[in-house]
């Protein structure tokens, strides 16, 4: 089976290095690129078409939170995005999850969960804690009602 290709997009050198340290020993995962800015992440997703893009939620400023992900989706539809967050900021994270990410991981949990999360997201699963599910569904019901009305 071919390895899961991964691009690491994070502003911080330390966070990128931490991802590398965790993922490099994994034989089924291959890091194919890195990006330090949101635009570089878009470009890397488009040109490298990775299976999984690790995307720092801190790269998003203002409305970009909800704009960056749709752009990535359109330019590399098969890439699955796993968000990296400083700590769970529910509102931000939910916005991002609802605009195309497949899950999120707090950076302090990288060592424990990153490899598993990458595999899960690559396999088409979501990497979201159970308690977040109700919030997502409420949002879903809300959005659905709105789109039925409009």
């Amino acid at each position: 089976m071919p390895a899961i290709s991964v691009v690491i997009a994070d502003r911080g050198r330390a966070a990128r290095a931490a991802c590398r340290t965790v993922l490099e020993p994994e034989r089924d995962i291959r890091i194919v690129g890195e990006a330090q800015t949101g635009m570089a992440a878009v470009a890397a997703a488009e040109s490298l078409k990775p299976n999984v893009l690790l995307l720092d939620l801190g790269m998003f400023d203002g409305d970009a939170r909800t704009t960056l992900l749709p752009v990535i989706r359109r330019r590399s539809p098969d890439t699955r995005v796993l968000l990296l967050t400083e700590r769970a900021r529910e509102a931000r994270t939910i916005d991002a999850l609802c605009s195309g990410a497949r899950g999120y991981l707090e950076k302090r949990a990288l060592g424990t969960y990153l490899s598993r999360a990458v595999r899960a997201v690559d396999a088409g699963e979501a990497w979201v804690p159970r308690k977040m599910v109700a919030t997502i569904i409420d949002r879903f019901a809300h959005v659905t009602r709105r789109s039925q009305r409009g």
């Binding site: 800015t37 949101g38 635009m39 570089a40 878009v42 470009a43 790269m59 998003f60 400023d61 203002g62 409305d63 970009a64 909800t66 704009t67 960056l68 992900l69 749709p70 752009v71 989706r73 359109r74 999850l97 609802c98 605009s99 195309g100 990410a101 497949r102 088409g124 699963e125 979501a126 979201v128 599910v133 109700a134 997502i136 569904i137 949002r139 879903f140 019901a141 959005v143 659905t144 709105r146 789109s147 409009g150």
Partner: protein, 227 residues
């Protein structure tokens, strides 16, 4: 006995007596129950009893599938629906969630799990299979995309910016820093910043990344303008 002390009322709606019995045995210790075997008696029970939750068999006689579920939910939005189905699948699950159900599972679910599921739903939480979640996220992202009519609006706003500003936007969306843009256009960095501030204002955009993304999407939509 006050209302508060009595167990919550749950309606069991299923056409098959054997299945109803299994459900009943699974939950009768925690809940007060009322059983119905087809749609019209379900509707009557909802109005008269105001149950807290219901176990609803998607194959209930005369229900009419997911559309019927939606109608039942509208009839009494406060009653939480745990929808049980013959063979759960993702498409049906998503449709059920759209209809407003709070739980969705196999109708032959293990009794202990059924009790747990009902407890969760009755409590205001959600009971669905983990496999549904990525489909849900996908659906949400698609809905969000459909609702955005920003490109057309922005298009007219883009016409308000000057050729010089446009040039700067193009360089910025190619990833250039202010310094690089200044060098390219042979102006000072301060001038670049001033131009950018004006552009942000004209377009109602808050930051560089946002601007670059817009520019990128604009070029894309003009490449495929027939859409």
């Amino acid at each position: 006995m006050t209302d508060r002390d009595s167990p919550p009322l749950v309606v069991l709606a299923c056409g098959m007596a054997g299945l109803r019995k299994r459900w009943r045995q699974a939950i009768e210790r925690q809940f007060a129950l009322h059983e119905v075997a087809e749609r019209s008696s379900l509707e009557r029970a909802l109005g008269a009893l105001r149950p807290s939750a219901m176990l609803l068999d998607l194959q209930l006689p005369a229900l009419g599938g997911i559309r019927g579920v939606e109608a039942i939910q509208r009839l009494r939005p406060a009653t939480k629906i745990l929808l049980l189905t013959k063979r759960p699948d993702e498409r049906e699950g998503i449709a059920a969630l759209k209809a407003g159900v709070r739980g969705y599972c196999d109708r032959d679910i293990d009794p202990i799990l059924l009790a747990k599921a009902l407890e969760v739903v009755e409590n205001g939480e959600i009971w669905i299979g983990r496999k549904l979640i990525p489909h849900l996220l996908e659906e949400l992202a698609t809905l969000a995309e459909q609702q955005k009519d920003a490109p057309t609006k922005l298009d007219s706003r883009l016409e308000r910016i000057t050729p010089r500003e446009r040039q700067i936007v193009q360089l910025l969306s190619a990833g250039a820093s202010n310094k690089e843009i200044a060098k390219r256009l042979d102006v000072t960095e301060r001038t670049v910043k001033a131009h950018l501030t004006a552009v942000f204002k004209k377009l109602g955009i808050s930051g560089r990344l946002q601007l670059a993304l817009y520019a990128l999407e604009q070029s894309r939509s003009s490449e495929s303008s027939e859409r």
